[in-house]
Amino acid sequence: MDSNLAAGLAMGLGAIGPGIGLGIAVSKAMEALGRNPEASGAIFVPYVLGIALAEAVAIYALVVSLLLIFVK
């Protein structure tokens, strides 16, 4: 019982940070793209790296919650 609650809390709380971070990153990228639409090639790669790093944190939270459910 406790491990289910812990798993839910781990994923739920662990997704707050990456969610906010990804939102900020995407909004800045959209803003830069809006100012200068021809720079989409130059914006794309750092944008991809940024969202990959933020998403990796969410994956760590997911793995912790899966471990809590499936490993006694």
């Binding site: 989409s40 090639g41 794309f44 991809v48 990959a52 933020a54 990796a56």
Partner: protein, 98 residues
């Protein structure tokens, strides 16, 4: 879509139909370099997370063989993080080459 039989082209006919170069691939995709498309973007986040997990898993495996309890697990964590950073470095280098 192109009305000629692209299916024939797939199956090995000789002629190459001209296509507009940026269909389906975001910047790059030139003469043979690996393309930087949106599928790679979706993939990168999950790969970074799983690199660390695979590193920890391999470390645990070696630990269970050699009975050196936390040593190889920690080495696995470090190697997993290094693999994640290497992945990012590869993508950045490939982009800087363009």
């Amino acid at each position: 879509m192109v009305p000629e039989g692209r299916a024939n082209d797939v199956l090995g006919a000789v002629e190459v139909t001209g296509q507009d170069p940026d269909r389906g691939a975001s910047p790059g995709g030139g003469s043979g370099g690996p393309p930087l498309n949106w599928a790679l973007a979706l993939d990168l986040g999950l790969r970074l997370g799983i690199s660390v997990i695979v590193g920890i898993g391999l470390g645990l495996l070696v630990d269970s063989w050699l009975h050196t309890s936390p040593l190889f697990t920690l080495v696995g964590v470090v190697l997993g993080m290094a693999a994640a950073m290497l992945t990012i470095w590869d993508v950045a280098k490939q982009a800087m080459r363009r």
